[in-house]
């Protein structure tokens, strides 16, 4: 009888230790995950200009310069959009990285390839140049 009691007591002690071993392992795993997460979060300290854009649409000085030169090259024809020249210029510079929407006022067309029907790219850059009282040249770049 006494031997049986002793056996029962030993089992109880082993059971308790096993609980703590498992708990320790879980705590260590959670700690490692948290430390890894904190190192990922510290990577948000690497800043580029996209981080400072509240409305998801931003200006681009170099796009604007290219548009100014494009207007000059269009030789004063400010009422019609010169699509071929736009392809020559903007598709070469931005075509690899962006879908390009361009045109006068709301008549925007894709310069180069159109996005797929299932693709909804976010707009990244928007630039405008006022051509005259009625017309405005618009260019939108959408990330591929």
């Amino acid at each position: 009888m006494q031997n049986k009691n002793l056996l029962n007591q030993k089992k109880g002690q082993i059971g308790e230790t096993m609980t703590w071993v498992v708990a320790t392992l879980i705590i260590i795993v959670i700690l490692f995950i948290s430390i890894y997460m904190s190192s990922l979060i510290s990577k948000t300290k690497i800043l580029d200009s996209v981080d400072f854009d509240p409305e998801n649409l931003k200006q681009n000085l170099l796009v604007k310069k290219s548009m100014m030169a494009f207007v000059l090259t269009s030789e004063g024809n400010l009422n019609e959009f010169n699509k071929n020249l736009a392809i020559e210029i903007f598709e070469k510079i931005y075509g690899k990285e962006f879908y390009i929407l361009m045109g006068i006022n709301d008549n925007l067309i894709y310069i180069g390839p159109n996005p797929e029907l299932t693709d909804f790219p976010e707009e990244i850059f928007l630039e405008k140049i006022k051509l005259n009282d009625k017309n405005e040249l618009n260019l939108i770049l959408k990330k591929r």
């Binding site: 703590w20 580029d48 000085l61 796009v63 310069k65 020559e88």
Partner: protein, 171 residues
């Protein structure tokens, strides 16, 4: 006998509990130190700002700066640091700036005119960055734009800006 066993087990657990507390505290310490010791890396922003300033200097209203040209074509004496009011510091080791002019017909074909200033050795870091981003080497930004000269000749201009400053931006 049973009571003695219980007290013994509880004392072992208390020591163990403090060991776990120290482990958790150590983990929190590492997390906080990890986040706060890492620096803000603003080099990409800085490189973009440099490109904007240089492009403003090279081209205005769609036309290239007249000082880029002389009677024979491109002006080889064009000093970008003086003309565009840039100061790379005494050592000039932390920056590299390169401007190349390209044929309008073919963006891959560079014309025989290149302006560069700074530490050219930093260019090697750009190749490494293409395969994988490392914080501890220089940051490179390259942008292209289109412009005309006074005779309405068309050019593509590529500006490459590289900033090292690793001690201040990456640990």
């Amino acid at each position: 006998m049973i009571l003695k066993n219980k007290r013994g087990a509880e004392k072992i657990i208390s020591v163990y509990w403090f060991a776990i507390l120290i482990l958790v505290a150590g983990g929190i310490f590492v997390m906080v130190a990890n986040f706060h010791n890492s620096l803000y890396d603003v080099r990409e922003l800085e490189a973009e700002i440099m490109i904007n300033q240089v492009s403003d200097c090279l081209s205005y209203g769609g036309k290239l700066n007249e000082d880029l040209f002389d009677e024979n074509g491109f002006n080889e004496e064009f000093k970008i640091l003086e003309k565009c009011y840039l100061n790379f510091g005494n050592g000039k080791e932390e920056y590299y700036l390169e401007i190349e002019f390209y044929n309008f017909e073919n963006l891959e074909e560079s014309l025989n005119f290149k302006i560069s200033e700074g530490n050219i050795n930093l260019k090697a870091d750009c190749e490494i960055q293409k395969s994988k981003e490392y914080g501890t080497i220089s940051k490179c930004v390259e942008k292209t734009f289109y412009s005309l000269d006074n005779d309405k000749n068309e050019f593509f201009i590529k500006i490459l800006s590289i900033i090292r400053k690793t001690e201040k931006n990456a640990k």
